[in-house]
Symmetry: C2
Subunit: 83 residues, 2 copies
């Protein structure tokens, strides 16, 4: 069966996010002063062929750990949906 | 009240995503050959002060349209949750 993994990779809360800080300031300059704590990460979608949802979850976790996320600096979470 | 906006910004489906293609190939090289159609975009979280959920949605949409997403090449969607 075909599944789609929706993966979010974000910088760890303990670390500074200079890109988020810059966007935060830019939003204030544009008049959106109610915005705070901007953090910017990656959103990755991928299609997976797998026999079951559990197998798809395992493959998505493998992909995150082996390649997509740098776990020293980033955390990841994902959801699996049927295509 | 305080809300959190979870924003996803992805390259439009009609456009090539060379970064996604490269990651796709790398995952195959790592043995994850069941993966296809990798697309890479941005995930942005931000805190918002707003009187209502509707006001928070409006602010998040403003932020996307004015700064975060380039609508010529990217689409965006977001969800608002209470902090």
């Amino acid at each position: 069966m075909k599944y789609i993994a929706h993966i979010n990779i974000m910088p760890l809360k303990e670390l500074l996010d200079p890109q988020g800080k810059a966007v935060n300031n830019s939003l204030h300059n544009l008049g959106l002063s109610q915005v705070h704590d901007v953090r910017i990460g990656k959103h990755i979608t991928l299609s997976l062929e797998a026999a079951s949802k559990e197998e798809a979850q395992q493959a998505a976790q493998d992909a995150c750990k082996k390649l997509l996320a740098n776990q020293v600096m980033e955390s990841f979470d994902f959801t699996i949906t049927e295509a």
